[in-house]
Symmetry: C2
Subunit: 205 residues, 2 copies
């Protein structure tokens, strides 16, 4: 059975949970108190020297970090990661877009607003994060105006990678009303078998 080290309310962790649920794989969720500093403690750093969740234990002592690498590992050999060469590269294109362009704006804005105190100095980063996040949403909206999912006409790990933080973008201060194609994509993703929503920040699991 897999063991998933994660933080409830983290989109990076939720991606992995969503895929595990959709593939019907057995796993145990192990909550990690990231905000309380647990990922900086020696016991955790011995598991992942980069000090981040999610972290998937494949078997005792074999640990895989990086949310999108975990998605690729778990989806290997399933229809959720296409095998045709260009479709496979396009899937990775969107997963790298997510980690490089999308998450550092949209997820970080949500983190500052939802997880830090209202007077925290990092709030001054919000205007720039909102600009950059809207640019990322614009790219997604334009793409989804031409096709139902990120790679061709099939649901894949590219959709799973992009879904959690986009769906929660309102919690970061983004107004999604101007993004109808993204809204329609939300409904298509939420209609997939085995779909589970991410809990709100602070909500009990």
């Amino acid at each position: 059975m897999y063991r998933l080290f994660g933080m409830s309310g983290s989109g990076n962790c939720h991606k992995v949970r969503l895929l595990l649920e959709q593939l019907g794989l057995d796993y145990r969720w192990q909550e990690v108190d990231v905000v309380g500093g647990a990922t900086r403690e020696p016991a955790f750093l011995a598991l992942n020297p980069n000090g981040r969740v999610p972290l998937l234990e494949l078997e005792p002592g074999v640990l895989l970090p990086e949310s999108n690498a975990i998605l690729c590992y778990l989806a290997d050999g399933t229809p959720l990661w296409p095998t045709e060469r260009l479709a496979r590269a396009r899937t990775l294109q969107w997963l790298f877009f997510e980690q490089y362009t999308h998450e550092p704006a949209i997820a970080v804005a949500r983190f500052i607003r939802q997880f830090l105190p209202p007077d925290h100095p990092r709030r001054q980063e919000l205007p720039r994060l909102l600009d950059r996040g809207r640019a990322a949403l614009d790219v997604m909206e334009q793409h989804l105006s031409t096709q139902p999912f990120f790679v061709g006409d099939r649901y894949s790990i590219a959709d799973i990678g992009l879904f959690p933080y986009t769906r929660a973008a309102d919690e970061g201060g983004f107004d999604l009303a101007g993004y109808p194609a993204i809204g329609a994509w939300f409904r298509r993703v939420e209609a997939q078998p085995g779909f589970v929503a991410m809990e709100k920040p602070g909500a009990p699991r």
Copy 2:
């Protein structure tokens, strides 16, 4: 023949050039004036709505962005991207580490110091970027103390993805003297057949 839209002195672009050279593939380099705003112009945005280089034209009208997705595409079917399931995921693990943890600190520090005027307000970001970059280098040093390359004992696109900005980290203000395992890895990478070094910022090509 491939066409590679890139900016000389960009590590993200150099990765792709290095792999094309090492695979002996025919390509044409098309210089893009990123600092001058060329990636924000309509003609370029029609090719890549996300407005970034590198961008690889596979054939007329078929364009693939995201440096590390391009590496995976080009290395597909070669020994530079392992096919065994866990080794493939570990390769992706390091490529996502590069784009999420490493590049936003180490490459951005270099960009601020080498490409922006000395009085630019973004220089105030440098102390935090140096802290975060050193943490990324520590993770790499620890890993390379136990094995010669990032994934097992073979050179792969994980090494190609991490090499350019690490090799140029001194241009961002990082002192690499305290990283002997990284230094030894530089020499192993530079000894690979077909290796080409990245040009210095501002150097003619």
